[in-house]
């Protein structure tokens, strides 16, 4: 009797402790609530303007390319790395893409598809270079990708002479750029598919498991037989390829390259990933969190414009959210290590 009550008493204690732990770990849930609250506030204050189909569509279109980059960035940061080159790789890829399409005659689906493939291949190549330099040459990711950030943008400007290029096949702009399926813009569909694949791969597959393991303790992963270097190369290659895809999406949307328009994509993507609860120290994070992290700034910006708040406040607010997110991560780690 007394033994039974004893064990009955200890069981709930460990369980509630585990649950508390899981809640702390689940800063994604918290940040998701923040996003929902923002949406609710804006929608209540200005239902006509904020909650309109058009406005929602605009928010999604605006976030689509950043989301694609940020999915790749999530894998990189979970693996305890960083990629500053994404914006430059995006620009470089869009330049290669349009050069290929121009060389092939600027029209028709085959040309458009060749352009998409060329853009993604160019991004993949930069990603491979990043990965090899980081994993094999063991140069810190911050330095490697700072280097390729400059190199990719410089080469894009050398190739174009610093002038934005036009000449995207109408097929591409009309479909990927402005087209919709069931009212949903293709840009958003592509971003949603990439995101869904990212969520599934990171969460349910061996590739995802290795990404967490490598970010959590690379030496432990190596001793367990994981090919750590090869995995890191794959992670950076994936991110490069997604940057290339984002470059093609941006081309289709604007019918032109946008050489000067992606200087802060890297920081925006990193901010989104970190706001979404992914730890800069690696080993922890989700793609779903990143989705939330992408939408918080874009919803804020959109809402502030509608409410006629000076849009600069958006940057202040995002900065605060970012720092708060990292602070929570620190507390979380300390609490966990303590237990």
């Amino acid at each position: 009797m007394s033994a039974a009550t004893g064990s009955d008493r200890t069981q709930p204690v460990t369980e509630s402790r585990a649950r508390r732990l899981r809640f702390l770990t689940d800063s994604t849930a918290l940040i998701f609530l923040v996003l929902l609250a923002l949406v609710a506030v804006f929608a209540l204050v200005r239902p006509d303007a904020f909650a309109s189909v058009n406005n929602v569509r605009n928010i999604f279109i605006g976030a689509a390319t950043l989301l694609v980059i940020a999915v790749g960035m999530t894998f990189v940061i979970v693996s305890a790395g960083i990629d500053l080159s994404v914006g430059s790789v995006l620009v470089f890829s869009s330049v290669i893409s349009i050069k290929v399409m121009t060389a092939l005659g600027n029209q028709g689906w085959p040309v458009a598809i060749a352009g998409v493939a060329a853009g993604m291949a160019a991004g993949l190549a930069w990603g491979l270079l990043n990965g090899v330099l980081i994993a094999k040459a063991r140069i810190p990711a911050l330095i490697v990708t700072l280097g390729t950030l400059g190199a990719a943008l410089g080469l894009a400007q050398i190739i174009t002479g610093g002038v934005n290029l036009r000449g995207v096949p109408v097929e591409l702009t009309e479909a990927l750029g402005f087209g919709r399926v069931a009212g949903i813009p293709w840009l958003v569909v592509v971003a949603a598919v990439v995101t869904a694949i990212g969520i599934v791969v990171l969460r349910f597959t061996r590739f995802g498991r290795y990404t967490y393991a490598v970010g959590s303790n690379p030496e432990a992963a190596r001793r367990a037989g994981v090919k750590v270097e090869r995995h890191l190369i794959k992670v950076y290659a994936l991110t490069g390829m997604l940057s290339g895809l984002a470059g093609v999406m941006s081309l289709a949307r604007f019918s032109s390259t946008n050489i000067g328009g992606h200087l802060t994509d890297n920081l925006q993507a990193i901010a989104a990933v970190v706001i979404g609860g992914t730890s800069l120290f690696g080993g922890i994070g989700t793609v779903f969190g990143t989705v939330v992290g992408v939408f918080i700034p874009s919803v804020l910006q959109n809402g502030f414009v509608i409410l006629r708040v000076q849009p600069f406040w958006q940057e202040v607010a995002v900065g605060v959210v970012l720092i708060a997110a990292v602070y929570i991560d620190q507390i979380k780690r300390r609490a966990r290590e303590r237990l």
């Binding site: 061996r206 498991r209 393991a213 959590s216 432990a220 992963a221 001793r223 037989g225 690696g282 966990r336």
Partner: protein, 277 residues
């Protein structure tokens, strides 16, 4: 030839100017527990890493089942059935115990999903629970919380369970009981005996002499990167071993000049047999 399952001969390992191993010999037979003892910094962990494929030696030879082998990676050692509990445990703190147990050897789902790399987490969790149950229910209650949230002893249990679950030939345990309570430590010793009874060679590194005498079939002493003596625990006592560890018994030094000194010879000659060859 010797009946050694795994044998190291004259292993040299340098870290910059530090000579961690200076021609170390070591051997272990199937179904035996060999204790490797030595002072701090004697080179025990380094030898374990070399024999586990995660550090490459600068010299010497490794033989497995009588044949020279190159243990170029952990995966190579795993393929030969060699598993290791590292002194620093080598766990991924953000992964749960089950994921750590199967790290690098994940079970995949059946069919197409498996070919796409989808994990079979349920099956891995079940098998992990079974492996941890062997070490007593109290050690690891939940296989789905991050390892970082476990106590030091629980983490050690995870590492021990992982190595013994996978080992089919040799298991190295580098101070597997250092963080354990009395009960858990004796469970680990029980586990070592059970693993040995399956015909697996066990190498136990421990600073606890009672444990060593309790479980070892042979004691090998490492000092300054070399094996300096081998003892039969039934015939040696603590003073002999401490003497060899600290260098008080200088006669032990002879063993390194005799890489062919096989286990049979050692046993025939009894404890500290090398000196009077």
């Amino acid at each position: 030839m010797s009946a050694a399952l795994l044998e190291a001969r004259g292993i040299v390992k340098n870290y910059g100017h530090v000579q961690a191993l200076r021609g170390a010999d070591f051997s272990v037979e199937a179904g035996k527990v060999v204790a490797m003892v030595g002072d701090n910094g004697a080179g025990k962990s380094t030898l374990v890493k070399v024999l586990s494929g995660i550090e490459q030696p600068d010299g010497g030879e490794i033989r497995f089942e009588g044949q020279p082998v190159a243990l170029a990676s952990a995966a190579r050692a795993h393929a030969l059935g060699i598993e290791t509990v590292y002194q620093d445990l080598a766990l991924a703190p953000d992964l749960d115990p089950a994921a750590n147990l199967f790290l690098g050897r994940e079970l995949l789902r059946d069919g197409v999903l498996g070919r796409l790399g989808f994990l079979d987490n349920k099956r891995m969790q079940q098998r992990a629970e079974e492996a941890f149950a062997d070490l007593g229910q109290t050690t690891v209650q939940q296989v789905t919380v991050p390892v970082a949230s476990l106590s030091g002893g629980q983490r050690q249990s995870v590492a021990v369970a992982r190595a013994s679950a996978w080992a089919s030939k040799v298991v190295f345990m580098d101070e597997p009981t250092a963080a354990l309570g009395v009960v858990q430590a004796s469970k680990v010793l029980d586990l070592i005996r059970r693993v040995r009874d399956q015909g697996i060679a066990v190498v136990l590194i421990s600073h606890s002499m009672p444990q060593v005498f309790d479980v070892a079939d042979r004691i090998e002493v490492l000092r300054l990167g070399q094996r300096v003596a081998r003892f039969d625990p039934h015939e040696a006592d603590m003073a002999d071993i401490v003497g060899a560890m600290t260098g008080a018994l200088e006669h032990g030094e002879a063993s390194t000049a005799e890489p062919g000194g096989s286990s049979e010879q050692a046993r025939q000659r009894g404890p500290s047999g090398q000196e009077d060859a």
